[in-house]
């Protein structure tokens, strides 16, 4: 019986440190995953402008390099390939083109030909949610 009494008297300690540790590791994991998803962004010199709102994670990001090459998900594509991908995406959205949003990251030093081709193609497909990525000016 005395032994049992000793057990009742033992203190319950809650060690928070490992829990905080794990929570922050999870947080960093998800932050890193979101950073990796930005790997679709090619190194292009974006126009240095104020913009209208902060960039968010975008589903479709098309990069237009200075030499007017189109890069989609790290792969060089033609306008025809791009249209095919967007068409597929519209089909996945039950044919609703208004649910598809495209972000264009174009090099400010290049011509507008690549962007114009993309915009013409998107307009033909009925996609109107188009964003132009810019670099924040300090």
């Amino acid at each position: 019986m005395r032994l049992n009494r000793h057990k009742h008297a033992s203190r319950i300690e809650l060690n928070m440190t490992p829990m905080i540790d794990v929570v922050f590791l999870l947080l960093i994991f998800f932050m890193t995953v979101s950073q990796v998803s930005e790997a679709r962004n090619e190194p292009v010199e974006l126009p240095k402008l104020r913009g209208s709102r902060d960039a968010e994670l975008s589903e479709i990001v098309v990069n237009v390099l200075r030499d007017q090459t189109l890069v989609l998900d790290g792969t060089r594509v033609t306008v025809v390939d791009f249209v095919r991908r967007i068409d597929k995406r519209i089909a996945e959205s039950r044919g609703d083109a208004s649910r598809v949003a495209v972000t264009i990251r174009a090099d400010a030093r290049g011509e507008s030909r690549g962007v114009n081709e993309i915009v013409r193609a998107l307009t033909r497909l009925g996609v109107t949610r188009v964003r132009i990525a810019v670099q924040r000016t300090e």
């Binding site: 540790d21 104020r50 290049g110 507008s112 114009n116 964003r131 132009i132």
Partner: protein, 142 residues
């Protein structure tokens, strides 16, 4: 009872620094990661392909149409009959337009520098035009 109180008074308070340093470094990494990823912003122009100027002709007031045209070796912004060399000039002129709700159009020919096209969209937005339309323009279109 006396024994218990003596034990409590004599107990050493130990501060585990390792765990605290662990958490502090994790916080540091977290804030470093978040601060690097948010330098990009978006411009949200409406997009359209105009085939003729019929829509514009139906309006009471002439809409703001910004074009980027070649002038000698470089390109300039054209607004009406005026050629403007800088974005600041363009923004100042656009602010004088009364019909902001009719929106503005940025006509961009294939050969125009994209940096200028984006700057023109930004200038229209800064002059409070709503919406601002990005219009790919064929140089042969009348």
């Amino acid at each position: 009872m006396r024994l218990t109180s003596r034990r409590r008074q004599g107990a050493k308070i130990e501060l585990a620094m390792t765990s605290m340093i662990d958490v502090v470094f994790l916080l540091l990494i977290f804030f470093m990661t978040t601060s690097f990823g948010s330098s990009e912003r978006w411009l949200d122009p409406a997009v359209r392909v105009e085939r003729s100027g019929a829509n514009a002709a139906q309006r009471d007031l002439q809409p703001a149409i910004v074009e980027i045209v070649r002038s000698g070796e470089s390109h300039v912004y054209r607004l009406g009959a005026s050629n403007l060399a800088s974005v600041a000039e363009l923004t100042a002129r656009l602010r004088q337009f009364p019909n902001k709700s009719d929106g503005a159009f940025v006509r961009v020919v294939d050969g125009a520098p994209f940096g200028m096209a984006a700057a023109a969209v930004q200038a229209c937005a800064a002059a409070r035009f709503m919406p601002v339309s990005y219009v790919p323009w064929d140089e042969g279109t009348p």
